[in-house]
């Protein structure tokens, strides 16, 4: 029998006396709650009053048994954080077998508590049970950490404490694992964001359980002090106190243990906290702003605790360059004082952290928090180098969401872009949105990041669109600004456009990029409207949408933006049903843009091309414009800016049969060749042949014919063999050969024959070639869609086969996605669509050509 040392022997209380005690305690807490003062201290006092009550009941209960026993408080009761309707979690530990007498004592403990309408969680153990760890009960393990002796045999509690709560690895490791697993599960349940518009004060990220987790991790002994400053403990307590005051109000208002701070209750809570002469809306905004402030403190404390787990304190930092070093907690400044005076270097930290897939250290974030407000936005982008750095940061990849969140939490994002700061913790109260506007924005970017490695097979089709974007950073940029207009209650799309354009011009983003971002923001709701609320079986609906987006790149950008925007509204908002509808609209529009664009020609009446005509340079007449544009597809005007159109008009002047006018210029890492000529057999094939002869890898382009037989080909290609760089006379040589071939003075077929034999494939072929004829998208043309592995001379060989059949290539759309060539030809035979027999014959020869390409690849691979 253990030595019995109770605190006090109490007389057996009557049920009424117990009720009076409880009601008195509750009245006191209720009064504090109505004054919004029921935080740590008030709950502590209330817990003391409940302790008295429980001891009175226990004192009576323990008389039923001779077996030594101890009564412990666990969990929140153990922490003395009881709210009005909180459960009380108890554990009774016997130092001996549990028989009839012990069961009687348990009943004598529990029944009066139930009669008082307490929700009692109870555990019953014997001392020997603590020799084994109950790893299948993680909530119980974690609750043990807050165990507090209430009454009974102190020696029993001491034994339990030494066994389970000391530095015994048998218990410490499973308890730590249980705590980490439960924390992660909770975070996943709440979409891993603390910016919930209706947060659960207990379970949401950044809420009370996270605060408790910080303390418990420290108690478990891995909180070695690194990454947490002394002031953190004070800030953590302040945060906990604030959340507990709100939780107390929720209990009072709901009359139950319900902890969700709903929109409705936010007004009540704010009213109790705020000044009586402030508008309710402002009170709620202030309340939620303060809530998120404290939630962030808790969240960062927890993140720091998690980071420090298992990390030796003595790890030194490794220099990366003069300014930055790699430390145990991420990338840090080598000299924070110097860094504080050089804001233009701050972005570089985030780029390095992304490149190394690691965090930005607390040191950097604190430095930015402290010093950021001294600097105007322009100080962060003093030159194009910083702008380009920012765009590189925005490229979708793992870690992007985390780095942008760090940028936002530290205030850097808001300093660089005050427009974004306007939606800081902005609350939009409706049925759908679950997160603040700024967090919703960052979550859209997280969804883009996840598309880099989709977990769900149905997302792979969208993931492939992401890989096909030429400038994916523009998508992220558009996402960053797409809802900034929600700071006001006006039409947020237009307001977002206005604000974004200002910001982007301030950092001197190229105008074409500004236009793209502007388009995406302006129309970011359009694709979902069409997909879910319009009749997609009506071709005109798809046509209209296709006219709006104009190009395949914009379509892909808008499709991805729509997908992630919906997904980030809240859990389960983007359903498989909606995904399917969105994908169908994408496919229908894509087909319309690539297969069906030929029939829609430019209206050359004065009104339709007024803008082009009005702005034309003096050397270009209205007649020049109209003649050039007549019969070209409307797509041409969507693809080329006004200045380019005027260049093409100039190229077309005084062109004679068998002549070629061309312009060749370098554009970034590629070259662009614009060719104007009069239509003739094998023209397109000859142009492709010349490019292939010089080893050029054709990436993308279009070929168009106007109603006067004038052909315009604009092709972008890569000089893979560095021909231009290594040969000063290369450009004139290419142009000369082009002119000779078109004029019939040279035969490119003969010239290429020898070269064709000796070339190696560009890479392994895992692409089954597809030759597909479409008959529905055009009334004028037969449309041939060819998908095959990108190979040297493919476009030349394909167009040669078509020309050999005597068919005319009127329009061509050339795309290369990775190692896949996707080419769309609009073909006629004597001005009309091909017959079925002609299609079959052409398909046979194209299959043979592509089949031979595959054989050559396999032959070359087998000989390696």
């Amino acid at each position: 029998m253990g030595k019995y040392r109770s605190r006090k022997v109490h007389p057996t209380p009557s049920p009424d006396a117990l009720k009076n005690l409880l009601y008195a305690a509750r009245d006191e807490l209720t009064t504090e709650t109505r004054l919004a003062r029921a935080g740590l201290d008030a709950l502590n006092r209330y817990s003391d009053r409940v302790d008295e009550l429980v001891r009175l009941i226990f004192g009576n209960a323990r008389k039923c048994t001779e077996t030594p026993l101890a009564l412990l408080a666990l969990g929140g009761y153990g922490r003395k954080q009881l709210c009005l309707h909180s459960d009380i979690d108890l554990m009774v530990v016997f130092d001996g077998a549990i028989g009839v007498a012990e069961e009687r004592s348990l009943k004598s403990l529990l029944h009066p508590l139930w009669d008082l309408h307490f929700d009692v969680g109870h555990q019953v153990r014997v001392l020997g049970d603590f020799e084994n760890v109950e790893t299948d009960n993680p909530e119980y393990l974690v609750a043990l950490l807050d165990a507090r002796f209430l009454d009974g045999d102190q020696a029993i509690f001491d034994h339990f404490s030494e066994t389970c709560l000391g530095e015994n690895p048998t218990w410490q490791q499973p308890i730590r694992s249980a705590l980490l697993d439960l924390t992660e599960q909770r975070h996943v349940q709440y979409n891993q964001t603390l910016y919930q518009l209706e947060p659960d004060l207990k379970d949401s990220p950044g809420a009370l359980r996270d605060a408790s987790a910080v303390r418990l991790l420290a108690r478990l002994g891995n909180g070695n002090g690194t990454g947490r400053r002394a002031s953190d403990t004070g800030r953590l307590s302040e945060a906990e106190d604030f959340l507990l005051r709100i939780r107390s109000i929720l209990h009072l208002e709901r009359g139950r243990n319900l902890n969700t701070l709903s929109h409705e209750l936010q007004e009540t809570v704010a009213d109790l906290f705020g000044s009586s002469d402030e508008q309710p809306r402002r009170q709620v905004e202030a309340l939620m702003s303060t809530y998120f402030h404290h939630a962030r403190i808790i969240s960062r404390s927890l993140a720091a605790s998690l980071k420090s787990l298992g990390t030796p304190v003595t790890v030194l930092s490794t220099p990366i360059n003069d300014d930055l070093a790699r430390a145990w907690d991420g990338i840090r400044f080598t000299d924070a004082t110097r860094a504080s005076l050089r804001p233009r270097t701050w972005l570089r930290v985030f780029e390095v952290a992304l490149d190394e897939n690691t965090n930005v250290s607390e040191q950097v974030l604190t430095c930015i928090e402290r010093h950021g407000e001294r600097y105007a936005p322009e100080r962060f982008f003093p030159s194009p180098a910083e702008r380009d750095l920012f765009l590189r940061i925005l490229r979708p990849r793992p870690g992007l969401y985390a780095r942008l969140s760090e940028m936002h939490d530290s205030g850097l994002l808001g300093r660089m872009f005050p427009e974004f700061q306007k939606i800081y913790c902005r609350v939009i109260r409706d049925f759908y949105h679950k997160y603040t506007v700024d967090e919703h924005t960052l979550l859209t970017i997280r969804t883009i990041e996840r598309l880099c490695a989709p977990a769900n097979p149905s997302r792979e089709r969208f993931a492939s669109l992401l890989t096909e974007l030429r400038a994916p950073e523009l998508l992220v940029l558009a996402l960053l600004f797409h809802d900034v207009g929600k700071w006001t209650n006006k039409n947020h799309a237009e307001e977002s456009v206005r604000m974004a354009v200002g910001a982007l011009r301030r950092i001197k983003l190229p105008e074409s990029a500004v236009t793209t971002v502007q388009f995406l923001i302006r129309h970011h709701l359009q694709m979902s409207t069409v997909a879910f609320r319009r009749d997609m079986e009506d071709p005109e609906v798809v046509n209209q949408f296709a006219r709006l987006v104009g190009t395949e790149q914009r379509l892909k950008l808008l499709c991805l933006l729509t997908l992630v925007d919906i997904e980030a509204v809240g859990p389960d908002v983007m359903t498989p049903w909606k995904e399917e509808m969105l994908w169908r609209l994408y496919v229908d529009t894509y087909n319309r843009l690539t297969l069906g664009y030929g029939d829609e020609v430019i209206d050359t009446t004065a009104a339709a091309i007024a803008e082009l005509t009005t702005a034309r340079p003096d050397d270009i007449s209205e007649q020049d414009m109209a003649t050039f544009l007549a019969g070209l597809p409307q797509r041409y005007l969507r693809l080329f800016e006004q200045s380019r159109v005027y260049e093409h008009v100039r190229l077309s002047r005084d062109i004679k049969r068998s002549e070629v006018h061309c312009a060749l210029e370098e554009k970034g890492s590629a070259w662009e060749l614009s060719v104007v000529s009069i239509n003739q057999p094998r023209l397109f094939s000859n142009i492709c042949g010349v490019l292939s002869y010089f080893g050029m890898d054709i990436l993308r382009g279009q070929a168009m014919t106007n109603e006067h037989g004038l052909v315009l080909d604009v092709v972008q290609f890569a000089d893979t063999e560095s021909f231009f760089r290594l040969n000063p006379s290369a450009k004139p040589e290419l142009v000369d050969l082009l002119q000779d071939v078109v004029a019939g003075r040279a035969d490119i077929t003969q010239t290429l024959r020898g070269k064709e034999r000796g070339l190696a494939p560009r890479g392994p072929s895992r692409i089954n070639p597809i030759v597909h004829f479409d008959r529905q998208y055009s009334d004028r043309y037969t449309i041939l869609e060819l998908i095959a592995r990108d190979a040297w001379g493919l476009l030349y060989r394909t167009s040669r086969v078509i020309s050999q059949h005597g068919f005319d290539i009127e329009l061509v759309l050339i795309t290369t996605e990775g190692n896949r060539a996707i080419d769309v030809f609009h073909i006629t035979h004597h001005g009309v669509k091909l017959s079925a027999a002609s299609e079959r014959a052409l398909a046979t020869d194209l299959d043979a050509m592509l089949g031979k390409q595959n054989e050559d690849d396999q032959g070359d691979r087998s000989s390696e």
């Binding site: 879910f532 609320r533 319009r534 009749d535 997609m536 079986e537 359903t575 049903w577 909606k578 399917e580 509808m581 169908r584 496919v587 894509y590 087909n591 597809i770 030759v771 597909h772 479409d774 869609e785 060819l786 998908i787 996707i822």
Partner: protein, 112 residues
């Protein structure tokens, strides 16, 4: 009381909701569904590759109405959801034994 279940084309939802509201109905439940009937699925072609769309996306609306209202609700749905093309959908009507409002405990037509 009757449970009126309508399967309609997705883009008709706004019109049907407005029409049903005008007929005096104050609540309905919407579910995203897919199915096939005579409309059947179809084949989509994307970059030359075919993929079958066997099930057609639809919207299911569930309305519980008092017996005297049933016909007017059906008429409202018919008028607003109909395009005249195959795939307009169907309406199913079944009997409801009891309705209870959870918040107040009201039952029967008072809970509608």
């Amino acid at each position: 009381m009757k449970l009126i279940t309508a399967i309609i084309k997705p883009h008709m939802l706004d019109d049907v909701r407005d029409a049903v509201a005008k007929s005096g109905i104050q609540g309905l439940t919407v579910t995203e569904v897919k199915g096939f009937g005579r409309q059947k699925g179809h084949t989509e072609i994307y970059r030359g590759a075919e993929y079958s769309v066997d099930f057609v996306p639809k919207i299911k609306i569930d309305i519980v109405a008092d017996d005297p209202q049933t016909d007017s609700v059906i008429d409202a749905i018919m008028a607003s959801a109909r395009t005249g093309e195959i795939g307009d959908g169907k309406i199913f009507v079944s009997d409801i034994g009891q309705v209870v409002r959870i918040r107040t405990g009201e039952a029967g037509t008072a809970a509608l």
